[in-house]
């Protein structure tokens, strides 16, 4: 049973952070102006700043964050491992490889390159880890290996690329929401609800699967089918987020665990994971957008990477105490 109060607090924190992110920046907007703009009653600079510039960015942070949170919960549940998240098992690195190849070889189709790279990597990890069945720990270990190989390939690709291409690729590879547009938000806003519905339909058998293959099968769960659908949804959710925002680390890794602990849920908790993911990425992007002294804007991926390091240390300490 998850506690309803933290869940409510999480859901309320989202609009607060969103409004904050919409109002803050080089061109501060007052709350009445902001609400007016959102209601479609503004023009001129306020409209430009709020609707054209900041809204896509905040919207993408929330939706990509939610997608990553869900993907992380799916992968961690299926691998039965808190480290089994898409960024750890190589989907991010693979998506980056795809994007790099697209930038260097072809007409710069970064998005489709990233999508394809992520899917191919997922398939490779799946096939390499498969041995008459899927074992969580093996999947994670194979994933870490594949991730390292893809990262090595990425470094090599970056070094061989022309300077402008390499610079552009590195910016994308850091994971950034700078310059997000409404055109990017559209597909995300359409796809996320559909995928989230899929997760909702699959949630009950997926959670039952955490009891082990034998027990859940004896309780009537079609184990192989549920696992395949769960992995498929997780891969698509990751690819969607990565293709729009670049490879963002840590959110998929930490959001499910933080969400579960906050709400006191057991096993995979998909709604808390989605809410926490959205909140984490929106907060990280708020920091990224403000920049640091000396760097006017930093990629949100850098912020999440730092958070990720801190999180991993905390997780290790927690596990060590068990």
């Amino acid at each position: 049973m998850s506690r309803p109060l933290p869940l409510l607090a999480l859901s309320l924190a989202l609009p607060v952070v969103a409004l904050l992110a919409l109002a803050q920046g080089d061109y501060p907007v007052s709350l009445p102006e902001l609400l007016g703009a959102l209601a479609g009653r503004s023009e001129g600079p306020v409209h430009l700043v709020v609707i054209d510039w900041r809204l896509p960015r905040v919207g993408l942070a929330l939706t990509a964050g939610a997608a990553l949170g869900l993907a992380g919960a799916l992968f961690q549940s299926i691998t039965r491992n808190p480290l089994g998240s898409p960024d750890v098992i190589g989907l991010n690195a693979g998506a980056y490889t795809g994007a790099l190849l697209a930038l260097i070889l072809g007409g710069g189709q970064v998005l489709s390159g990233a999508l394809l790279g992520g899917l191919v990597t997922a398939l490779a990890v799946y096939l390499l880890a498969w041995r008459g069945g899927l074992h969580g720990t093996r999947l994670v270990l194979v994933g870490i290996g594949v991730s390292a190989m893809a990262t090595a390939a990425n470094t090599w690709l970056l070094m061989t690329a022309r300077l402008e291409v390499a610079m552009g690729a590195a910016t994308w590879g850091a994971g950034s929401l700078n310059g997000a547009t409404l055109a990017q938000l559209g597909p995300m806003a359409l796809a996320l609800p559909v995928l989230a519905l899929g997760v909702t339909l699959l949630a009950r058998p997926l959670r039952q699967l955490e009891l082990g293959d034998d027990l859940s099968r004896a309780q009537g769960v079609p184990v192989a089918l549920v696992r395949l659908c769960g992995l498929g949804l997780g891969v698509v959710l990751t690819a969607l987020a990565t293709a729009t925002a670049g490879p963002i680390a840590f959110v998929a890794l930490a959001a499910p665990q933080i969400g579960r602990r906050l709400t006191g849920a057991s096993g995979a908790a998909f709604l808390p994971a989605a809410l926490t993911g959205a909140l984490l990425l929106a907060l990280a992007d708020l920091v990224a957008a403000q920049g640091l002294p000396g760097a006017r804007q930093i990629p949100v991926g850098v912020v999440t990477l730092v958070l990720g390091g801190v999180y991993l240390l905390a997780l290790l300490r927690l596990e060590a105490r068990k």
Partner: protein
Amino acid sequence: MTDTPLIAEGLVLGYDGKTVLHDLSLRLPGGQFTAIVGPNACGKSTLLRALARLLTPHRGRVLLHGQPLERIAPRQMARQVALLPQNPIAPDGITVRDLVARGRYPHQTLLRPASAGDATAVEQAMARLQITDLATRRMADLSGGQRQRVWIAMVLAQDTQVILLDEPTTWLDIAHQVELMTLLAQLAREGRTIVAVLHELNHAFRYADHLVALRDGRLMAEGAPSQTVTPALIEAVFDLPCVITPDPLTGAPMVVPHA
């Protein structure tokens, strides 16, 4: 109850080419407590998994109330037969009540997730295993024996006619073992068909109505303990020279090993 809910006919099965069960035929009597005994790695868990349809036999078949297992829908099967595997996994952070409630899965659907009937079944199962006062504790914080009782409560909450248990007494102290044996015998008297893999032979002989002895995937004996247990059988199954004496309280056969 005289029917035979589970019948295995000429089961041949194993893993990756290695045959574990060799042409095994069994009849598990309804409303009785069957104990499966045998040395380590003789195929007891494998047999239980086959009875629960987790393994497809290479040859032979298992019948549930006369129907071949492969013709029964997963949910229907799960409403009739429950299995507690040897090594179940508790999800992270789960509490006792939540885990017991997971046993209600086959009775729920997406549109009807949990009902008052589910809650009653969960509370009753916890009461029978005397873990009601642990209900809000986390599994990770319990002792091995407490956890084992939670798992058994979960299987009980599934409310099936047939219950298959793989070494349910592991981790339990002697008093709790006896308590569980009594509970299993009582469940059988209430009409359920109980099949348990047991290593404690004297408990098996005393509490079970029906005994199945395996060695190297072959059936060595089948029948009431008082009629099947002999020193020769124990030696043949376990390579253990022993004498059999009647248990002073019940007269059930009791194994006393030599040396």
